[in-house]
Amino acid sequence: MSTMNENRLHGYPGIADNDGQDGRQPTLHETPMQRDRARTIWDKSQPGRRAFTAPELDVDAQPLDDLIPARMRRVEPPKLPEISEPEINRHYKRLSTRNFDLDEGFYPLGSCTMKHNPKMHERVAALPGNARLHPLQSPERAQGALQLMYELQEALGEIAGLPHVHLQPSAGSHGELAGVLLTRAYHEDRGEHRTKVLTPDTAHGTNPATVTMAGYEVVKVGTNADGGVDIDDLRAKADDQVACLMLTNPSTLGLFDRNIEEIARIVHDVGATLYYDGANLNAVMGISRPGDMGFDIVHYNLHKTFTQPHGGGGPGAGPIAVSDRIEPYLPRPQVVRRDGENGAGPVYDLDFDRPKSIGRLRGFQGNYGVFVRSYAYILSLGGDGLREASEIAVLNANYLLARLRGAGVAEYLPVAYDRLCMHEFVLSGAAMKRELGIKTLDLAKRLLDFGFHPPTVYFPLLVDEALLIEPTETETKETLDAFADVIAEILREAREDPEIARNAPYTTPVRRLDEAGAAKRPVIRQAL
């Protein structure tokens, strides 16, 4: 860093860090955030401070020894923080400002569908009838919750074009696990013990990881020149040991596989199931349905397509939908509707009596709070609105792609597959790296200085120096234009001086971090 010259900063003051020349402190030119060094809540603790006031002890206290033998009791209190409530609040509030978030600006993180999270969803989720409802409340006294789950199942089933929906899985990869275990149960029930699951080389990492966890061998299928599944390769690998093909359509390249009908035929012909990774469902709601494409099992990412806020890494929910032949194996309990007796309204219940079920994947009934938000979203948009959301998502992506095909960008960041895209698209930074000497990572880091969240980078693996860009439908044209302008500006800047991007970012709360060092000597908790 110390070799850099002020005149090349182009507006970013962080660069003089640590040069230490002419006796200045090494923190010169720090932004206010940078000056504010990380201190944990323990760094701010003092013995004797506290936030909590216990409710009054209103029963006669018994000697502890009479209640729990001393050898079973904790001796030293755990070293939790000691700090007042105002200071806890300040600590975490200030920490929050060290995050970039979706309400701050554009977040075109491909495959993640960072669409607006409506605030009304938080309001309904927080209603005491939802938030303080115990999961073991008897179904008769949780009819509202069960009805909501049932209606959500119905809506999701309609969107996927599959008749049976189960809500339990906690996230996409949990849904995948459910799906592969369902496949196993299906085959085993037919007396078959298949050993392999096919995944395209464009697949998300959770797909192969899930396959291994579920006790199958991963077999990779190639991609054709067009960005679709290599049909010949698929045909060659689809044999009677194949239990399943896991696919997402549109793929992680943002491309709809034109051969989907053929693919389904090949897979079904060998008796395998076709699994749909629903991470990219935002492209096709109301336009094309996985069930109609021939998929047997689908998972949804409610935290993508259906706007559950991501929470910095969860919570989410990964419901699944299946065809009739898979239905007997669904996890339990299943939310069901029964006709009311004597003309009364319908009654909702939990059905545990599912003898072929693969069993539970987790406790209780799944991430209900997420269901509330996603159902609120479906009710708000309605069938027409969901379709329009997908249409605008695809329009926004194609428009941004068109803008990035312009001169000054396309030479360095060509689109990986030269087609119309769906809701996202992939650029390759290979030419940029070659011509300008900056990597996709550098471009991503430089974007941070301009107030944009970078796209997904280095995924899908198939594309060299990949950038996977998903604008979503809730962004304005002005935002897309501004992003395209900044990409062009960074490339222009890199033509003049690639060091700028190579050392970016400058204005973030911290600058590039030593990730290798962190992994080599992991410090994953504070020493107390």
């Binding site: 755990p78 993180l109 990881a209 349905r289 910095g312 890494g313 069938g383 027409d384 792609l401 973030t508």
Partner: protein, 460 residues
């Protein structure tokens, strides 16, 4: 214009022109006719915000929540008070809306929270390493089982019958996939029988799984159980209730390998079962096989302290089929609530709240067991939950007793018969600091009356 979008007619025209197509329809040219929906979704048209709110509020009002009755339901999730401080923080968009922190420079908030969370969980469990959360409690047990499986390659699990039935089932569901079997260790007077463990253990056992306290509320004698398991080379997995760890010796003190559990009691609302978080702590030796995100401390180019996701070579996005788990999105926001809650309770508060529950629980257990037709199901020490035996006619009878209480505005607890056929008359009663002595007294009177009424009915 659809809700939340901005594309006006003018925008659309301009954008389509730039793309070079005449209509939005044309953008979907790649979708074969055979797989087009070709009709509207059979989902009602969109509604105004106030209409959606009103509809969902009316549904919520059809639930009887812990706001509406005096509830002694527990059995894995507990009605603790969630301080308003937590709402304030988890609704801040800076925490609520970001993705997993793949770009550490603009995610220091979330990453430092993970680091602090890991520290707090380590302290609480007495184990040196913690990840940044898994989905929830029962699946955490399944995840721990998978870790044992890839660690020692063995394929038998011995699981105490005192482990939460959902956790046992989740482990079994998953183990079937990765080729392992699950056997149950029976209970004796409510606690895991050490002799049964000795009889079943062997060098093919991947892990022994226990719960602390167990599902029946009993404090397990880990001192007696853990060495038996460890001697055989099996890992010991303990699923624990974090709110008891201010008073109970932490699992780490007994040398267990993995402590997991349901994090909901730590500042997360009930939410009809989720989202919450699962915690996952372990011995150092297992670090590089842990599932899930882990934040680590490091420095930036200027030497400033910072945090990153670390040890990512365990994870699916790097290692794909060789990953130690498939988990990706986990429960970061819920774990944030957890660490804020633990900071709010603080070093002494976690002990005070534990002791408060302990004392009130002892009181409740004594008073309830003194009722006619009610007796303790076991005599083990308990912290905040205990099992009773109703002198009744089985599951239906217990159900009717519960309904009678509910009609009086008291939910007396969970009917054990649902999961334990050997306890058709069992009732599991749980407390939190929100259940006062007055609430307990009310339970005593309502349950007493309900049991009496049920006996009368049965004998009539």
């Amino acid at each position: 214009m659809s809700r939340y979008t901005s594309a006006t007619e003018a925008d659309r025209r301009e954008m389509l022109d730039a793309v070079g197509v005449a209509s939005i329809e044309e953008l979907f040219v790649d979708i074969p006719a055979g797989v087009r929906l070709g009709r509207d979704l059979a989902i009602a048209p969109g509604k105004a915000e106030q209409e959606v709110y009103a509809y969902l509020r009316d549904l919520a009002a059809r639930n009887v929540s812990a706001e509406d009755e005096i509830s002694f339901l527990g059995a894995g999730m507990y009605d603790h008070y969630v301080p308003a401080l937590i709402d304030n923080l988890i609704t801040r968009s800076e925490f609520l809306t970001p993705y997993t922190p793949y770009q550490p420079e603009i995610s220091q908030g979330s990453l430092q929270v993970m680091f602090e969370y890991q520290t707090a969980i380590s302290e609480l469990t007495g184990l040196p390493v913690s990840n940044a959360s898994v989905y929830e409690g029962p699946s955490a047990v399944a995840a721990a089982g998978y870790l044992a499986r890839i660690h020692n390659k063995r394929s038998r699990f011995l699981v105490s019958r005192g482990v939460h039935p959902h956790a046992r089932e989740a482990l079994e569901t998953t183990a079937h996939g990765f080729g392992a079997t699950v056997e149950e260790l029976p209970l004796a007077d409510g606690a895991t029988d050490p002799r049964a463990l000795e009889a079943a253990i062997g060098d093919d056992v991947a892990a022994v799984v226990l719960a602390q306290p167990n599902f029946l509320g009993a404090v397990e004698d880990l001192e007696a159980l853990v060495p038996v398991a460890r001697e055989s080379g099996a890992l010991v997995i303990v699923s624990c209730d974090p709110m008891t760890l201010g008073v109970l010796r932490p699992p780490g003190d007994f040398g267990v390998d993995i402590a997991v559990g349901e994090g909901q009691p730590l500042g997360n609302r009930l939410d009809f079962g989720g989202p919450s978080f699962g915690f996952f702590a372990a011995q150092e030796a297992l670090l590089r096989k842990m599932p899930g995100r882990i934040a680590g401390e490091t420095t930036d180019v200027a030497g400033r302290r910072g945090f990153v996701l670390t040890l990512q070579t365990r994870e699916q996005h790097i290692r794909r089929e060789k990953a130690t788990s498939n988990i990706c999105t986990a429960q970061a926001l819920n774990a944030l609530a957890g660490v804020v809650y633990l900071s709010w309770l603080g070093r002494h508060g976690i002990v005070e709240i534990g002791q408060l529950m302990l004392q009130r629980t002892a009181y409740a257990r004594r008073e309830l067991a003194a009722l006619d037709g009610v007796s303790p199901l076991h005599e083990q020490p308990v912290v905040r939950e205990f099992a009773l035996e109703l002198d009744g006619g089985g599951r239906d009878s217990v159900r009717r007793v519960i309904e009678r209480c509910a009609a009086e505005g008291v939910n007396p607890g969970y009917a054990l018969g649902h999961d334990y056929e050997e306890h058709p008359n069992g009732l599991l009663v749980a407390l939190t600091e929100q259940r006062s002595r007055a609430d307990i007294d009310r339970l005593v009177s309502v349950l007493g009356a309900a049991v009496a009424a049920e006996r009368q009915e049965v004998h009539a």
